[in-house]
């Protein structure tokens, strides 16, 4: 069906239909960082929802999503996807850049080929993308530390938990946390503890660290990994405040249980949804966004609003949506 549709413009040309009524098909390539990371599944749901909405609202228009995402974080693979999608003649590309420097050249190439590119979640500032949507990773780190400091009454020892030390967006968040901690006089950062990005390893790491450093009274999680399980924080929540990124369904349970005080959320669904909207405006209406940088708000989830936030996942959960 899609191949047929993608021929449409030419066909309509032959038929000489009037432009207004001309059946138009837009295919947008969407490239997230890693299939392995559940937050991007919400982005995919968002993108597909936007496509559906646009197809319904604009008669004669079909929008399809070509989702291409590496299994695990791999900037080089992302670059390859940008090139391949461009050569496949997609009408636009939305990408969350695993590495800004690395993706610059391929994004520029795409733009030069009249394939508009929008970045979400992680930007490539130097590149020729026409718009960015999301929240800055470093700002996210800062946010986490602010919330944590507040919970800790401004004083105490903080441990930072991160995943792959070499992943750009994680180190950006860690920097944010460190920066904010430096601003807070009462706060001492013990160290950044890295573990393989599986819930089990993360939970194990936290428990070992807490056990041998009982004076730790605050945990800043720049990713939600350990919280993708049920009881990762036993032996920790009794002794320390925990603020984390990624308010996904299971992490939210921890807030409900009072084991995690605050979850800082990014606009996961919006990443996909807004990016597709931006692309559509660009290629269909020829409209550029008012500003290149479209900053979204953090979602701050705590015991007060946890239930209403949780409702989002009814929509965002890929299995729920499919």
């Amino acid at each position: 069906g899609e191949q047929e549709a993608s021929k449409a413009p030419a066909k309509s040309g032959e038929e000489g239909a009037t432009p207004a009524a001309a059946a138009q098909t837009y295919t947008f390539g969407v490239i997230a960082k890693a299939e392995q990371n559940p937050v991007f599944q919400a982005a995919r749901v968002g993108a597909e929802a936007a496509a559906k909405k646009l197809s319904e609202e604009n008669e004669g228009v079909t929008v399809t999503i070509n989702w291409r995402t590496p299994a695990t974080e791999d900037a080089q693979k992302q670059a390859e996807f940008v090139e391949l999608l461009t050569s496949q003649g997609v009408d636009g590309i939305a990408i969350s850049c695993t590495d800004a420097n690395l993706l610059k050249s391929s994004i520029d190439a795409a733009a030069a080929g009249n394939v508009p590119v929008v970045t979400f979640d992680s930007d490539a500032p130097e590149s020729a993308r026409f718009a960015y949507y999301g929240v800055d990773d470093k700002a996210a780190g800062v946010k986490v530390m602010q919330e944590l400091a507040q919970q800790m009454g401004g004083s105490g020892v903080v441990a930072i938990l991160s995943g792959n030390p070499n992943s750009a967006n994680l180190s950006a968040r860690v920097d944010g946390v460190r920066e904010e901690a430096a601003r807070q006089d009462g706060i001492e950062v013990r160290d950044v503890f890295y573990a393989p990005e599986t819930a089990a390893d993360m939970a194990a790491k936290m428990q070992q660290v807490q056990t041998s450093n009982p004076d730790i009274t605050g945990w800043a999680l720049v990713g939600g990994w350990p919280l993708y399980t049920d009881n990762a924080l036993d032996g920790i929540y009794e002794n320390a405040k925990v603020v984390s990124m990624d308010p996904l369904p299971l992490p939210l349970e921890y807030v409900k249980a009072g084991q995690v005080q605050v979850l800082v959320g990014q606009p996961y669904y919006g990443w996909g949804y807004e990016s597709v909207m931006l692309l559509f405006d660009k290629v269909h209406n020829g409209k550029d966004p008012a500003s290149v940088m479209n900053y979204a708000q953090f979602d701050i989830v705590n015991s007060d609003n946890v239930d209403e936030y949780a409702a989002n996942w009814e929509v965002w959960d890929p299995k729920g949506a499919k």
């Binding site: 559940p38 299994a71 160290d191 890295y194 599986t198 660290v209 004076d215 399980t229 049920d230 369904p249």
Partner: protein
Amino acid sequence: MLRRLASAQEAGLVLVILIMGTLLTVMGGTKQKQFRIAIPEGASIVEYDASGSETPPGTISLQQIAGWRVTGDGSPTTYARDEGYSYNATQRAFFGRKTVSKFLDRENLVLVAKDASFIAIMAVGMTAVIVLAGIDLSVGSIYGLSALIGAMALQKFTNAETGLLLSVPLGIGICSLVGLACGAVNGVMIVGLRVHPFVITLGTMAAYRGLIFVISGGQSVGNFPESFTSGFFKAEIAGTYPVPVIFMLVVGAIGMFVLSKTVVGRQVYAIGGNETAAKYAGIPVGKDKVIVYAMLGLLAGLSAAVYLGYLGAAEPNAGMTYELKVIAATVIGGASLMGGRGSAIGAVLGAIVIQLIDNGMIILEIDQSFNQIVMGVAIIIAVVIDQAKTRFAPKG
């Protein structure tokens, strides 16, 4: 088993572990640990300031408080703040602090053993595979897939009230079955297609992981009955959660027994030592191989069940890159990748050694940035030590 433990193979590792333990104890130093003091029902609490004048709790600011006095039945006990005592109104309890060794703290030791156990259980199975001169890269994915399907089964067939007698056998059963199936698939392909196990399991590693992703949609699956988690796999015993450790020890013992005492076990060594000779001796080489890979799968499934019960959820990334940890543990445990040599208990000890290195980095407060470097170098050193030993001792 004691006899075997004393034999060259494992003795070396036990020694290594003891040395590491001693170093960590001596160099790790001590930590201030909190302990809880419950307040007897109906006892009354007052706080007193420097001057000693008593006031009901919460009247004066924390800084002014010198301590608390509790009057239950009998004479009052006082908890002075400068002795490190603190009062937790919400829990209505006192917390004291005691100084304990960072490493030799029971809680820490159990944690290290527990963290090793998930790897160790699989390493026991991997030992048999490596003794066969085989290898299995898909073990991490099998672990993840078993966990996922086990979790879905638990969600489907149990509810919050379900008792231990249903939930635990169900969880273990499903996980083990899935693992067994995956392992059998590996084994059958390796034997049937006569393709090197590295290739087959490289393929199934990706395939099983992909399956996890398709089934789970990238989301993790949780919320099991209490009876399965805190009721069993995460049962608290003396302030620790040692159930996984128990599983590790039992599996290690059984593996040891099977490999060194049963006919199939010895046949595995025979095949690893000289496959042609094994064939000539009428040993069912193909059958044994399938069994061994299936058993590794089963143990990966069991390990997954323990993981489910201990952490209470299955996430799609479970077991990512575990294959390398498992193989490392097995090899440190004295298994030879050329086949014919390896020990189940050794593998368990190997897993513990790896955990100790990790734990040591934390206890000695080494900059975590060096974690990977230390880990990599340590693995090589561990194996070199192990081999140096076996090179002088007669090999067996």
